[in-house]
Amino acid sequence: MRFRFCGDLDCPDWVLAEISTLAKISSVKMKLLCAQVLKDLLGEGIDYDKVAKLTADAKFESGDIKASVAVLSFIFSSAAKHDVDSESLSSELQQLGLPKEHTTGLCKSYEDKHSVLQGKLRETSLRLGRLEGVSWRVDYTLSSSELREVNEPLIQLKLQTQGAESGSTETTVVSVSADKFRVLLAELKQAQTRMNALQ
């Protein structure tokens, strides 16, 4: 059976198994649990004490709590990844056996946070060597050990990037003469025009 929220693939077995675990808690508690899981996916952290309280009535063990959080995370992130609208998600979840009230609650939470979730996923997409900061300084060289009167402007650029392989911040310092800098600026402006044309 192909499911859109799984990217037109079969639903993983563990998701099927844990959907029946989810059905054990009441639909009100389910909606609150969805809110907690969404907070976690948006990077705001999850309050495990609240989750434990929500699942205490249904007497979930720690394994069940982890499983229900995992299955909700999977459903939300996978549905946002494949840009599934909430009616399709609702019908697919009901096909998998999640009761109607739980599905309605889940899809309502999904619909509310749909675009925010996609924005967060877009942010965390792979990017190599992200530019974190630029600082510059213009100097004027008066003279040097080679020539008594130099009288030329010089630009010092400090680029802070996130290393592609290491993932930690790397600093590059470059000094550029006036002519070279004009070339650099012209090329970057051309690239910027192209980027603006695409947006």
């Binding site: 997409s125 792979l126 190599l128 592609a164 392989e165 290491s166 993932g167 690239a191 192209r194 695409l198």
Partner: protein, 203 residues
């Protein structure tokens, strides 16, 4: 199978019958902590002072006990074989029973610790990817070049610590299709008759 203990090992373990059973239980606990986290000399010194014996004797006794446990867990020997192997040492019945209880309680934990030891190959952890299309570069405009960039995260590997190592890879669609078909071929190899025959014979 029976464990064959070396003379030196037997000598180290000969310390054990000289102390009473509560102390042997305590030594067992220290030995297991050693396996889990490593030993500290303070523990041995404290025990040596209480029993009025030199520190090395205590240390050798605990290490001998730990070695006995790891060897027994490694070969997964049965209760009877364990008792027979320990009989060689000539300990009393009570001590044998204590050692047996120690073995039975902890052998699965010891096996899981031992299984984590040989980890020298990097293992797959995660793969992040992005699909880009290069439209223009400084040298040439009006291009359409699709490129897949991947970051492969691997666990362990060379340094042996829990650190993740990263590799950045780039590929064009043709190579990607070839990569996918090779990996699917590898998966399909599990379903051949030859592989199935081998799987049936391993329990």
């Amino acid at each position: 199978m029976l464990l064959v203990l070396s003379e030196e090992h037997k000598e180290h373990l000969s310390f054990l019958p000289r102390v009473d059973s509560a102390v042997v239980g305590e030594f067992g606990r220290i030995a297991l902590e050693f396996l889990r986290r490593g030993s500290s000399p303070k523990i041995y010194e404290g025990a040596a002072r209480k029993l009025c014996v030199p520190v090395e004797t205590v240390q050798r006794g605990v290490e001998g006990l730990m070695y006995l446990m790891t060897e027994s867990s490694k070969h997964m020997i049965s209760k009877v074989d364990f008792l027979d192997s320990v009989l060689v040492l000539g300990f009393g019945e009570e001590l044998n029973q204590i050692l047996l209880q120690l073995y039975l309680q902890h052998h699965s934990e010891i096996r899981s610790i031992l299984s984590q030891l040989p980890s020298n190959l990097p293992g797959y952890h995660n793969l992040e990817w992005r699909l880009d299309v290069q439209l223009a570069s400084r040298a040439i405009r009006q291009q359409v070049v699709p490129v897949l960039t991947m970051r492969l995260l691997l666990t362990g590997g060379g340094d042996g610590t829990g650190e993740l190592s990263r590799r950045v890879l780039q590929t064009d669609p043709g190579t990607l299709l070839h990569l996918i078909s090779t990996l699917e071929g590898a998966l399909a190899a599990i379903k051949t008759n030859h592989a199935r025959r081998i799987f049936r014979n391993i329990k």
